[in-house]
C-alpha cells in the first residue's frame, strides 16, 4: 500500500461516538470498513461486519476505546479489533488510520502499533 494511505472521509463526517461505513470498492479490502470515532475524538478502522452475525459495526456504539455491536452487544477494541465480550468469539480486523489536516486516511491491512 502507498505511504500516504487512501483518503476515506473528512474528520467532520464522523460524529464523536459514532461511525460511518466506507465501501470496500473504495478501500480494496475484503469487507467494508467501519470508521469509528471514539469519544476522545480519535478515529479507528475495523472491518465493518461483526464477527458474530451480520451487523454493521459502523452502526454500533463507540465509547472509551471500544465499539459495541448494534445487534447483540459484542465489544471490540477500537485499536486492535480484539473481541472483549461474548457473544462474538473472533477478533475484528483492525486497519491503521491517520488524520491529516482534517482528512482521514486509511492504510488497509496495516496495524496501528
Amino acid at each position: 500500500m502507498s505511504g500516504t494511505g487512501i483518503r476515506v472521509a473528512a474528520l467532520d463526517d464522523i460524529p464523536e461516538g459514532e461511525g460511518i461505513t466506507v465501501d470496500r470498492a473504495v478501500t480494496g479490502t475484503e469487507d467494508d470498513i467501519a470508521l469509528l470515532r471514539d469519544d476522545d475524538g480519535s478515529v479507528w478502522a475495523l472491518n465493518d461486519t461483526c464477527t458474530h452475525e451480520t451487523a454493521s459495526l459502523a452502526e454500533g456504539w463507540v465509547e472509551k476505546g471500544h465499539v459495541e455491536c448494534p445487534l447483540h452487544a459484542s465489544r471490540f477494541c477500537l485499536r486492535s479489533g480484539k473481541v472483549e465480550g461474548l457473544p462474538a468469539t473472533r477478533d475484528a480486523v483492525a486497519h491503521r488510520v491517520e488524520v491529516r489536516d482534517g482528512e482521514v486516511y486509511l492504510f488497509p491491512n496495516e496495524t496501528s502499533s
Binding site: 459514532e18 456504539w61 445487534l71 452487544a73 461474548l86 468469539t89
Partner: protein, 404 residues
C-alpha cells in the same frame, strides 16, 4: 472471602459458566480451573430458535468459545459429563462415572430445562420443546415432514420459533391465553404490536391455551381452549418457559426456592458454592432474569467475588429477541412505567418506546433501533435525568444527549 481459592470447579457450560471462567482468567486467576458440562461442547442458546433452527448455522458456529480457547486459557474442559453430587464439606464434586474432582469453590451454572404442561395426550403425540441443541436438532429433523405446526406459548421462545417456522414455509398456529403475551416485559402497547406482527406474517394467533392433543390418521389433532373443532397439525412445540435445574443444589443442602437463592455477589447459602445464570434467583428481591446478558454478567460478578474484588458495575436488565427479520431490544423495567413516549411512530420501524414513572425513565424497548435502547441503558445505569420529549423527538441525537 479470604485468600483466592486454589481449585475452582464450574458446573455447566452455558453462557453463565463460560463467562465465569473467562472472567476468572481475565482477572488474573492462576489456580486450577475446571469446567464440567453435560453437553457435546459449550454452545450458545439464542440461535437455537433463530438461525440454527432455520438451518443457517451449524453447531460449530454457535460455540460459545472456539475449540482451542479452553486450552490456551488453561481450563480443563470435561464434556459429556454429568455432575451428580456436590460434597462441599469434603471439597469435592462428583461425576456420573464416579470420578471426583477436588474443589475449594464450586460455581453452579446449571441453567434450566424447558417447562412442560400437563396436557392430555402430550406424551402420545410427542410434544417438542426447545432448550438444548438436541431439542433443536429434533425439531429440524421433524421439519421436512411437517407443513403445519402448533406453537403453544407466545413468549420469547414461542414467538421466535413461530417466526422461524413461518419463514420456512410452515403454516403456524400460535396459541397463548395471555393477551397480549410479553406485556410485562415490553409494555402493553408494544406487546400488542409485536403480537400482531405474527398475524401479518400469516401466522394464526389464537388467544387460548391448549386443552388436549390426540394422534389420528390426519395428523395431530389439537383442541384449543374454547374451540369446538380440533386443529390438525404435524408438529407441536411447547414454549412455556423454563424450570431452574436445582436438583444438585438441593441435594447439597443449598437454599432453593424455584431457583438457587443468591446474594448480589452470587453467593449461595453455602460459602463454598456460588451460582450464576438461569438457575439463580435473587435472594433480595426474588427476581429471576432468565436472559442471556444477565447470565453473562452473573459470571463476571462471581469471578470478582472469587477473586476478592469489588463487583463490576451493575447494569439495567437488557435482552433482545429476533423475529420476522426484526431486532427487538428491551432495557430496564417497562412494567414499572406509568407513561410511555414513542420515538418515531409505533409500528413504523425503526422506532422505540420509552417508559417513565413520573419523570423518571424506567425502561425502553426498540424495534430495529438499538441506539435508543443503548442510550436508555446508559441513562438508567448513570441515573441521568432526561426529558421525555427530547427522547421522543427523532431529531434528537441520542449519543450527544448522553454526553450532555
Amino acid at each position: 472471602m479470604s485468600a483466592t481459592p486454589g481449585r475452582i470447579v464450574i458446573v455447566g457450560g452455558g453462557v453463565a459458566g463460560v463467562s465465569t471462567v473467562a472472567a476468572l482468567r481475565a482477572g488474573g486467576y492462576d489456580g486450577t480451573l475446571t469446567l464440567v458440562d453435560a453437553g457435546e461442547f459449550p454452545y450458545d442458546r439464542p440461535p437455537l430458535s433463530k438461525d440454527y433452527l432455520a438451518g443457517k448455522r451449524d453447531f460449530e458456529q454457535i460455540a460459545l468459545k472456539p475449540a482451542g480457547w479452553y486450552e490456551t486459557q488453561s481450563v480443563r474442559l470435561i464434556r459429556r459429563a454429568q455432575v451428580t453430587a456436590l460434597l462441599p464439606g469434603q471439597g469435592l464434586v462428583q461425576l456420573a462415572d464416579g470420578t471426583t474432582l477436588p474443589a475449594d469453590r464450586v460455581v453452579l451454572g446449571t441453567g434450566g430445562t424447558a417447562a412442560r404442561l400437563p396436557i392430555p395426550g402430550a406424551a402420545e403425540v410427542g410434544v417438542q420443546v426447545l432448550r438444548t441443541v438436541e431439542d433443536a436438532g429434533r425439531l429440524r429433523d421433524a421439519l421436512p415432514a411437517a407443513s403445519r405446526a402448533l406453537v403453544i406459548g407466545a413468549g420469547l421462545i414461542g414467538a421466535e420459533v413461530a417466526s422461524t417456522l413461518a419463514g420456512l414455509g410452515c403454516a403456524v398456529v400460535l396459541a397463548d391465553p395471555a393477551a397480549p403475551p410479553l406485556a410485562a416485559a415490553v409494555g402493553p402497547e408494544l406487546a400488542a404490536w409485536l403480537h400482531d406482527q405474527h398475524r401479518t406474517r400469516g401466522i394464526d394467533t389464537v388467544a387460548a391455551g391448549i386443552a388436549s392433543l390426540r394422534r389420528t390418521s390426519r395428523g395431530i389433532e389439537a383442541l384449543l381452549g374454547g374451540e369446538k373443532e380440533a386443529r390438525v397439525v404435524d408438529l407441536v412445540v411447547l414454549g412455556v418457559g423454563m424450570v431452574a435445574a436445582t436438583p444438585l443444589a438441593e441435594a447439597a443442602g443449598l437454599e432453593v426456592d424455584r431457583g438457587i437463592l443468591v446474594d448480589s455477589a452470587q453467593r449461595t447459602s453455602n460459602p463454598a458454592v456460588l451460582a450464576v445464570g438461569d438457575v439463580t434467583r435473587s435472594r433480595a428481591d426474588g427476581t429471576q432474569a432468565g436472559h442471556w446478558d444477565a447470565a453473562r454478567r452473573d459470571g463476571e460478578r462471581a469471578a470478582a467475588t472469587l477473586l476478592g474484588r469489588p463487583a463490576p458495575v451493575a447494569s439495567a436488565p437488557w435482552f433482545w429477541s429476533d423475529r420476522h427479520g426484526r431486532h427487538i431490544e428491551t432495557v430496564g423495567r417497562m412494567a414499572a412505567a406509568d407513561r410511555t413516549v414513542v420515538r418515531g411512530r409505533l409500528g413504523d420501524e425503526p422506532f422505540a418506546v420509552f417508559g417513565f414513572r413520573g419523570t423518571t425513565l424506567v425502561g425502553a424497548v426498540s424495534v430495529d433501533d438499538t441506539f435508543a435502547v443503548r442510550t436508555a441503558r446508559r441513562l438508567l445505569d448513570g441515573a441521568i435525568p432526561v426529558d421525555a420529549d427530547l427522547l421522543a423527538d427523532p431529531s434528537t441525537n441520542l449519543r450527544r444527549l448522553l454526553r450532555g
